[in-house]
Symmetry: C2
Subunit: 307 residues, 2 copies
């Protein structure tokens, strides 16, 4: 692993600070051949997230939901380490590495409707840095505090630059009441350096409940005062795309409506992981793919052709 | 205390059950002299709750907010027992008995815009069974699981019948995202008997986090499947009125927007408390007023005349 320059130092100082983003948000220039409209590209660049409704058909959604239920029951062929439960119960909260543990989700990750947009936004070939099935149960879904994914991926995984994009395929309707992801529009344009050091093997806890890499309350307050909070809501089959550095979180869910999505992080191949910037051992591969482990997508096909 | 007949037995059996409501919802017949419209009366009867926007003026709201901040700082003249903190921090979640500990909130409780509606709905003179200031902080406001207030007031406090009405005066804007109260419309028309027994001095925990008197998940699921979930949202100065038996709860709040309200429960004087139906010692007076302790409102005046 090379010793890359740390352009986004975090969890080093005792006081939080806001650093400028030195990377582009949309790395390509829009043109008529782009897989997404100019207005959508501009909205993503401005807000740091984008909702696209009805990307997947009812038939495709049914296939994905069935596969999600299967994985959620943690069948024996699934690596036990990749199954994460709720902090206070044994309910399954996430199953990681679904693009390698499920043929169905492998096809979805490579689907042109996702991977082409990722390649366009990042102006590079891409690979899956992380994938997971998220399940927020009804009645007892826990909240997830504000965070930038990139802050963690940089500090704990060694992702050098902001050149990764996340896509959440909604497998159930997201309403304002069942604990949907909330975004702070525009927050992706600055880097919030967090205070403190990362303890060793932090990931075992942080996948359940974040305690380090937590952005300062006053900084979040200021960003929200300026930009507000947006909650993309929509039916199953919609896709929420968001920049790796957009501040997001979710409230708990006591409604009976569970919420599930399949989550894929596309990283530019030029932005492959180096040694973690906190100097600790890297997190396991199912959380952050390293080296040649992950398939590279340069030409993708369409899930609906086979589903 | 008399031994009243237990029309709503709960926390006795090992299986939950749904019992019919034997009491009226609106105990008066609407007529042109009513302090509320016929449509509003019908909506309350049907849904078990009613939102009335802009009941209090901007000037009145400012006065109430100032007084709320003062009480929230737990000044020395406030009874320490009436101050309840969040389960995981020392942040003030509620201050009880505000109609006796604050001249400002005493006037609000007696205000015609609240007390007249209570008298009309209950067809009786009324008194304050419970009052409190609720404060759900930004960033770390905890959720509150589904419950019927009446279930607790009946079992733990000895409230014989469903002839009480709650009024929440919003002191900050309630949006869908800052953990507003969610109601199950129509749920007030049935009584969900809960399982298990109440432990002694349960109130010390239950005011923070409910663990007993919790309605069965399948029953809540069924009610929500039929009726959905409603979230009255509105600006400060609005009032949410709800029947003592309407199922309600709230999600957590990680947004920076704190949420506060002044909460008053009006009980019919004919429905004064008897011995608790669980056979245990009654909860303290600041949670459930007994006997002659509480002022009776038969003619009320208007807060705005003096504020």
């Amino acid at each position: 692993m090379s010793l890359a320059e740390d352009l986004y130092p975090s969890r080093i100082k005792n006081t939080p600070e806001v650093l400028p983003r030195v990377d582009e948000v949309v790395h390509s220039r829009w043109n008529a051949a782009a897989p997404i409209s100019k207005a959508q590209t501009e909205a993503f660049e401005r807000d740091g997230f984008l909702l696209i409704k009805d990307v997947f058909s009812g038939h495709e959604v049914a296939t994905l939901q069935q596969e999600a239920r299967r994985l959620q029951s943690a069948p024996p062929e699934i690596d036990f380490d990749t199954v994460i439960t709720e902090p206070k119960s044994s309910a399954v909260r996430s199953v990681f590495k679904i693009h390698e543990q499920s043929a169905v989700f492998e096809r979805i990750a490579a689907d042109a409707r996702l991977a082409d947009i990722a390649r366009f936004f990042l102006d590079d070939d891409v690979y899956i840095h992380q994938s997971r099935l998220n399940y927020k149960p009804g009645f007892r879904g826990e909240d997830f505090y504000w965070h930038s994914d990139f802050e963690t991926w940089h500090v704990e995984d060694g992702m050098p630059r902001m050149r990764a994009v996340s896509m959440s395929v909604l497998l159930s309707e997201n309403t304002t009441l069942n604990g949907p992801t909330m975004f702070v529009p525009g927050s992706h344009r600055e880097f919030i350096a967090c205070v403190g050091e990362t303890p060793d093997e932090h990931y075992k806890q942080s996948l359940k409940k974040q305690e380090f890499g937590v952005p300062d309350e006053k900084i979040v307050d200021g960003l929200v005062a300026e930009q507000g909070i947006a909650t993309p809501t929509g039916p199953a089959g919609s896709v929420v795309i968001f920049d790796c550095n957009t501040l997001h979180g979710s409230n708990s869910n006591i409604t009976p409506y569970s919420r599930s999505n399949a989550f894929f992080v596309f990283n530019a191949v030029s932005n492959r992981l180096t040694a973690p910037f906190n100097g600790l051992a890297p997190r396991p591969d199912f959380v952050a793919a390293r080296g040649g482990a992950s398939k590279q997508y340069s030409v993708s096909d369409n899930f609906s052709n086979v589903a």
